[in-house]
Symmetry: C2
Subunit: 210 residues, 2 copies
């Protein structure tokens, strides 16, 4: 967007009129809604009351703390996984790669109350030894989490889980032992599922040139 010398009058929350540099781009209100820009596509692993492993896909999720390392994931109360997380105070996040995109969508469409989703999706449950939850063998990354906070928001309940360990498929690790983003083949939710694109630059680094 080229900067130019036009001054535009804007009104802020306090009703004050100000002049701002530059041309104001026309933005259109699309209303109050929850929309991904983009959202991760993660698979939440839990055991039910009988110890049966279950998985569901969640996108209202993200990392929420560095120390202790924590993830936040929001579930509707009606979800079978909601009861499982509440009862066991534990879950895993298995992060899928592109090749599993159909299975991942399926895991968000049906309920573990009615179906063995692992079996139906051709996936294998592996029990975590750190937390009371299973993870998906076939996906390249897993985060093993115990619940620290439960926040009732509205349609969704947010579970904040401390990450006790991250496990990565060995073939996906780079020479320095950290995950190789190119090999992982992750994808996101942004008006449909989309892969990860081209490398743009190093974080906490390229901005030093400004």
């Amino acid at each position: 967007m080229p900067q130019c010398s036009i001054l535009t009058r804007v009104v802020n929350f306090a009703g004050e009129r100000r002049l701002v540099r530059g041309r104001i781009t026309l933005k259109k209100s699309i209303g109050a809604q929850a929309m991904s820009f983009p959202a991760p596509v993660w698979v939440v692993g839990t055991y039910d009351a009988e110890g049966r492993p279950n998985v569901m896909t969640a996108a209202w999720a993200g990392i929420c703390c560095t120390q202790p390392p924590c993830v936040a994931v929001s579930l509707r109360k009606a979800r079978y996984s909601y009861g499982n997380v509440t009862a066991r105070q534990a879950f895993t996040i298995s992060v899928p790669s592109e090749q599993h995109v159909k299975a991942v969508d399926y895991l968000g469409l049906v309920s573990g109350r009615e179906v063995d989703k692992f079996a139906k999706a051709g996936l294998t449950a592996v029990g975590s030894v750190l937390v009371d939850a299973p993870y998906v063998n076939e996906f390249p990354v897993v985060m093993e989490c115990k619940v620290l906070h439960t926040i009732e928001i509205g349609s969704h309940t947010q579970f904040i889980g401390e990450i006790l360990d991250i496990k990565v498929e060995e073939a996906m690790l780079g020479p320095e032992g950290s995950p190789d983003a190119e090999k992982l083949g992750l994808f996101v939710l942004l008006n449909g599922y989309r892969g990860i694109g081209r490398y743009l630059g190093e974080d906490f680094s390229i901005g030093k040139e400004m």
Copy 2:
């Protein structure tokens, strides 16, 4: 990953040994850490005590509720923006496109205590009329949020904000009036900044084939 008839013995949290179908992929522990798989790259807009607009880049963030629509964003207490959000109970999320990746990295490197980051990054602050916070004119999407919950986690405090409106640059809207993912040109954090890649399929749809 091909499914095969090999049975593997695994041990779960309760110490029970089970046989699972398939070959267990070798996963290596990389320890307990906060890592993006991937994370969004969002710019948090706030006013300070003197009403000066400030912006900072945050990646420990995501959508966390559908009704009311809410975002969660985590900030360190030391951040200038932390005090601003706490005092005003409001913030905006401006979602940048690829062309602004350097500026966005810059906004995470320096503090609004010392620098007018809008001016330094060549960006324009526009005051929201819905919440007591400014947003970035040049970025294609903005979410205007008022704080509903504040959760102390550890290094980071999570602010859950109700989205009162989403505004999208008109040129980025598709024929049905919803944001056109291709035009937005968003990017994510995944071992550096990376663009959004190829379309893989429709959510809540492609899994029906399973």
